[in-house]
Symmetry: C2
């Protein structure tokens, strides 16, 4: 048990597969662990271990754990907007279809994967210190989400488009939170229909 410690390439057809940079492996491992187990529940040591790296490599690539958390959330935000564009893109001239596509995709993700809700929303719960570098990311993300929803609801010609946008945002956030305890068979099961009903109430 003294030898053969590192270099677990696991599978990969050829053993000469180029090893990804330590920073990237650590980054990915951190995102995965933070999401699945929670930010405060995961120590830097276990991140390095999961990445097949060492704690030193982590601290060579990131200033601190807090900074690493902030970076992870920034990446979550980037991916969220990519998902947003990909989902609403096909309905450029149909705001109603764009909104419904969002809730459809959301309901689908609840059923298949992502049982741990929203990484950024979870961070809002876990990180109670306003000085934490990740809090700014959380706030910025939710502000931008609100802005985008408002734009869609305005384009929709909704009577009270600001109220509708807020209502839809509350439904989204509620879906994330509710999923953590009651899963996809809980209130999430009605997510899309509720969103549709709310939209219709302000348009039809």
């Amino acid at each position: 048990m003294t030898t053969a410690t590192t270099r677990q390439q696991t599978d990969s057809s050829a053993e000469d597969a180029p090893r990804r940079p330590a920073r990237d492996r650590i980054f990915d491992a951190a995102r995965e662990l933070f999401y699945r187990q929670g930010i405060r529940a995961v120590g830097v040591e276990s991140i390095a271990q999961e990445a097949g790296a060492t704690k030193m490599s982590l601290y060579r690539a990131f200033e601190s754990k807090d900074e690493l958390v902030a970076e992870c959330l920034k990446q979550s935000e980037r991916e969220a907007w990519l998902w947003w564009e990909a989902t609403t893109g096909p309905h450029k001239h149909d705001p109603r279809a764009a909104l419904l596509a969002i809730f459809d995709s959301l309901a689908l993700k609840a059923k298949t994967c992502e049982k741990r809700g929203c990484a950024i929303g979870n961070a809002a719960v876990e990180l109670t210190d306003d000085a934490h570098p990740a809090r700014a990311v959380v706030v910025a993300y939710n502000r931008e989400k609100r802005r985008r929803l408002r734009a869609l609801c305005k384009a929709l010609g909704a009577r009270d488009h600001e109220m509708l946008a807020d209502g839809l945002q509350l439904l989204m956030d509620g879906a994330y939170l509710s999923r953590l305890s009651l899963g996809a068979a809980g209130p999430n099961a009605s997510l899309r229909r509720a969103a549709e009903a709310l939209i219709d109430s302000q348009t039809i």
Copy 2:
């Protein structure tokens, strides 16, 4: 700095004010700290200190920190149902008014106090281990909340009363989560109107 360690009665008119049992002080301090700073962020030592007690007294009254957390959440649940009864009670024969009263009270609490959302909802985020004794409390609470909302929506004569109940529960949970990052001026500002619109969409 060696003397005068304990016995901080703070104020209280008479100094002969009977000291509350250590268990109660610890319990209250734990609830307050868990809510304000998060469960994992608070150590047993700081709980005892905040309660003017010692760690030993904590472990004489509670099996473990996990068990203390579960007890705290059970108390949060009890208080939640008391609030529920007090809020809906005056509208025993008017389900619509009962529902709106809930959202009115919720919006009011968002504006005045409770900027840290819902203690039970937060616990759902923080406690990722299914074996944690508090998880059962979280799940039971959300199930019961769903049951009560369904009963109200059924009494309301809503067309799709299960969808309406789920939608309202998502709005509630979303309000808690959203409040953590954007406060009462965020989507929470539209909480009551969104709930009303959703209710009306299934009744009128």
